[in-house]
Amino acid sequence: MERLTPVLQRAPGRWQVANVTAIKRETPRVKSFRFELPMWMPHMPGQHYDVRLTAPDGYVAQRSYSVASSPIDKGQIELTIDRLEDGEVSPYFHDVVMEGDQVELRGPFTSYFVWRGEAPVLLIGGGSGVVPLMAILRHRRRVMPDLAMRLVYSVRSADDLIYADELGDEAVVTFTREPPHGWMGHTGRIDQALISEAGIDSGIVFICGSNPFVDAASDLALGAGFRANQIRTERFGPTG
């Protein structure tokens, strides 16, 4: 049937030009960017978008970044980007992109490391690996705050703590190198005691971080009695 007015196709995977509406500095190395999307569709918490930068001579660089926001934020997504010194895309976001800029992106993609409302949920994040976990946590706060979910979050120092002002009772934080002055909480790498303290021993586990972190955390989750098919992992490779 022919339509009188053209339909805006909202298919995942089509490149679109998004507007940067807000930028928040999370840590000295990490910023969150909020985008308004002309062809927005709700993502599943844990999914990612690809961004594409194009130079005047046609040179292109692409990277994938996890969505940090809840799909309840209609028309928008937030990407949290760690600045890698020798990177190509993340320094552009940190040093060049301003509110009002336009950025080309497409998504949301893949459906393995995603939360579909299963419970209970144990989230284990290392460093910027907390980003897709934050999408899960934020979504739970907005739509089902009574659902059992805890976040175990490992960072090096106070300067590396992303979303510091949002980490409430559901988060257990440990500092592996330099805790903030007067810190009374956990220090050192995540261990079995920290996993036990989170108090989630059934359901599903999401683990995200560097490769060694994910391996260590997976072993701890297996040690805590979770089966391999209850554990979903995302390993942050070098993504400049």
Binding site: G13, L53, Q62
Partner: protein, 205 residues
Amino acid sequence: MSGSDFISRAFRGRRRTPEEFADRLPPGQYYEPGYPVLTAGPTPRIAPEEWGFRIDGMVGREREWTWDEFHELPFETVPCDIHCVTKWSKLGTNFGGVSMDTLLEGVEPQGDFTVQFSYGGYTTNLPLADLTGGKAWVVTEHEGQPLAREHGGPARMLVPHLYFWKSAKWVAGVRIMDHDEPGFWEMNGYHNYGDPWKEQRYWSD
């Protein structure tokens, strides 16, 4: 995927690709001198003495090799480039293993499709034609060293002409099928075939 009309304000790029590799980088990929690890789920532990490789399914004759039997087969060094769908490419690297052509000798496949299956449950599908004709190997070495566990050791598939998720780590075997059946990532959003030169990353590509 065609290029863009959109120009990113004040973006020039750092072009870290060495000159000699410039034409070996598929669209949207970047040159990665290291060897990153990307795996869905915990990393399986399989001792070589527990490892075996089998070819089954729609075949005239099933085959199975133990670790020792596998190492009596003709061993090849495979120089290649590998391309991960997460955008990094590792160029000019060497694996060592046995060609799928060798492993398929006498198997008499009765179907045109395959599924690689792994210790740990991972699967990935391909037309049989992509595993034959000198295009695929079961490898146990990388740069002359035993393949590290995080890279799929003791043995993984190597299908370098496709995105690297089409090369199953901790590979346990290949099933010959008379129909195409999407594997793990193919069911979870990645392209059914995965040609990096056509930038077939996701379902919609």
